[in-house]
Amino acid sequence: MLFVTCLVDQMAPQVGESVVRVLERLGVEVSFPRSQTCCGQPAFNSGYRADARPVAKRFLDVFEGDDLIVTPSGSCAAMVRNFYPELFHDDPKLLARARRTGERVWEFSEFIVDVLGRSDLGGRLEGSATYHKCCHLLRELGVDRQPEALLKGVKGLELRSLSRAEVCCGFGGTFSVKMADISTAMMNEKLDSVQATGARMLIAGDAGCIMHMQGGLRRRGQDTEVVHIAQLLDRATVRPTP
């Protein structure tokens, strides 16, 4: 089951398309529960747990079942896996459901490498790129070696090391708006590092961070292309139609 995330659904659908294509190419039968909306993270992170709870409960209802759930977002996967138990700690039934569901949720790169056991997808893409380590993916899920393996497996891709790759880009959800000046300062430091690599492409694993960095690059007049790792792998593994 694909949990595409509210952000990707409405703001960056091409990322979702890439996820489907890549997974189907790997022999995975991707289904899309149409009732899905959001995992509830924005409200939870802003302190509005009472508003987050019903939205999170709805997620549990929509994604009920035995199928594995794959999502192209480290922060949304972390929300379900790590924070649903906190959100539902008062309700034993929902807590149990949340735990069970959490065990079925996988972030996209994690799924490919750890569940499917694949890291070399036989992909090829010429060009220079650099990779930013999105924070929730890195620290809430502990996922780092998987995207690295997947990117290394793309022939022709010149991966340039990003200085301070592990430092937050400054997105942080509503932080980007609530504390806009701090978010901007962090973003500029990040984009300076990106610029210093001279890479044509910036790759990352979370749509929110991508939106923030992409918006900043545009404003700064930098023409680095920002892509989600799913899009990168999609491009690398596509076969031109005859």
Partner: protein, 494 residues
């Protein structure tokens, strides 16, 4: 210390536009932050030691009354005097009263964050006792009449020129320029003070319950001076500083020092077991200890915030924090900056003034990763956000004055969000409507100015229009195409 956390945004903004401050803060990444990482990579069983440190701290905090009782008994057995202070004012009063009753004219201070909570220097001065900070960084900010910028390096924000200006008056106007010379100048200025001081006031890095020991960690020698030269030693500690056993010191010294500065060990570690013995050649005749609450009980009372008391005050969290490295120490407005400051300041001094602090974080988790005792700071920030907004969280309401800081408007926004996320059609419709509404002001799919609450975004970033066709409307087609690809012989690789 007066709480100025309400000025967070203003001070943060000023800091971010000051290139010199930004350069000093960037040095925190290349210095302390990188230093800790090197130690973490090269210390045997580093992760195990963090786990063990956390387990010991958790055990002590869960049984704090017991260990405080044991510690107190042993300090007294060693010939020391112990006082319990419910708040900072009481603690300061005890110190001053003792100083006056013993005819103390000059107090030398070695770094103590608790004494900053007490505003001790001001209280001493008002009582006609001369307090002199002796840690170079603290000495500099005492001369500047400022609050510390960082708990390990309090004057990290001062340029050498600024330091030169501050030190010169104490040397009859003689101004030196280079850092080594400035350091020498400070040594010369403070040496006579060490000799004439009647009382040394220090902090406590670790309080060992089974022996009644107070352990102090320094590099400069001022901590040793304060506990060796004057006739009275007064130590101030937060009530959470206890560890159970002498044996545990090996582990805690290791994880504290390597996390704080990236050193293998600090130059001096002093273990004080009471005043000097009768047959000793130097050392204080009297040893006094003030154990301070000052709001820590509130942290203890909230199971969701209790682990903030595991903190061993190493500063690793602020070194790792990308927000701290932009806004600097003064923005937080009280004694403790950075992630730990963002948690303890609202809890100990009230959410009203410090309401911005828990929100001044992107929740990146670098602090938790850096913490030698693995304190889950991001979770506590989230907890405080929920308390700030909803007034209560979980079962404990400890902040009666906690109130939604942004008012009813924000609450409405989240109600609307919740409604919008409550059904797939309204969710989709909401986005479609937003696109339609924004289309007129967008250029090639991008907005230069986002409306309403989102306008902060576009101060520095373009904002994308919602997509013309959502993913959900494209899924069927993508799925069909993918299936076709498979039957035609699959993708390029895969």
């Amino acid at each position: 210390m007066e709480v100025k956390s309400g000025e967070f945004r203003k001070v943060a903004a000023a800091t971010m536009t000051d290139p010199r401050l930004q350069e000093a803060l960037d040095g925190v990444y290349t210095g302390f932050y990188k230093g800790r990482i090197v130690q973490a990579l090269t210390t045997d069983r580093w992760e195990e030691q963090r786990e063990q440190g956390r387990a010991i701290k958790a055990h002590v905090i869960e049984n704090l009354d017991y260990y405080l009782g044991m510690f107190t008994e042993n300090v007294e057995k060693n010939g020391g005097h112990v006082y319990f202070a419910a708040n900072a004012a009481e603690a300061a009063r005890y110190v001053v009263d003792l100083a006056k009753s013993r005819g103390v004219k000059t107090v030398i201070k070695s770094k103590s964050m608790v004494s900053e909570e007490m505003g001790l220097n001001n209280v001493l001065e008002a009582a006609g006792v001369e307090p002199v900070e002796t840690d170079l960084g603290e000495y500099i900010i005492q001369l500047a009449r400022e609050a510390p910028y960082h708990i390990i390096a309090p004057a990290i924000h001062k340029s050498k020129e600024q330091v030169a200006d501050l030190l010169a008056p104490q040397s009859g106007g003689q101004k030196v320029e280079e850092i080594a010379a400035l350091t020498r100048q400070a040594r010369e200025q403070l040496r006579p003070v060490f000799q004439r001081a009647d009382m040394g006031v220090t902090g406590v890095n670790f309080a060992v319950a089974e022996s009644g020991s107070v352990v102090i960690v320094t590099n400069e020698g001022n901590g040793r001076m304060a506990t060796s030269a004057p006739r009275i030693h007064m130590a101030c500690m937060g009530m959470e500083k206890v560890i159970p056993s002498v044996r545990d010191l090996a582990l805690f010294l290791r994880i504290l020092i390597r996390s704080a500065t990236g050193q293998r060990i600090s130059n001096y570690v002093s273990m004080i077991n009471g005043p000097r013995r009768p047959d000793e050649h130097d050392g204080p005749d009297e040893f006094h200890l003030v154990i301070v609450d000052n709001g820590r009980l509130r942290l203890l009372a909230d199971p969701a915030l209790r682990e903030a008391l595991y903190c061993i005050r190493c500063g690793a969290c602020m070194n790792a924090c990308p927000v701290y490295r932009k806004v600097g120490g003064h923005s937080y407005g009280w004694v403790y900056p950075g992630p730990i400051g963002a948690v303890v300041t609202p809890a100990m001094t009230g959410l009203k003034q410090a309401k911005d602090l828990p929100f001044a974080s992107s929740l990146c988790g670098a602090c938790r990763e850096a913490c030698p005792v693995k304190i889950d700071l991001p979770r506590m920030l989230l907890e405080l956000r929920s308390q700030a907004v909803e007034g209560t969280a979980g079962n404990i309401k400890h902040q009666p004055e906690a109130r939604n800081p942004e008012g009813p408007a924000e609450r409405l926004v989240w109600r609307a969000w919740r409604f919008g996320m409550g059904g797939r059609m309204r969710f989709d419709l909401g986005a479609r409507l937003a696109r339609v509404a924004l289309l007129p002001v967008a250029r090639r799919g991008w907005l230069k100015k986002a409306p309403g609450p989102a306008s902060g975004w576009t101060t520095s970033r373009d904002f994308p229009l919602p997509a013309a066709r959502s993913f959900r409307s494209r899924f069927k087609r993508v799925k069909r195409a993918a299936a076709r690809e498979r039957t035609m012989g699959g993708g390029h690789g895969a």
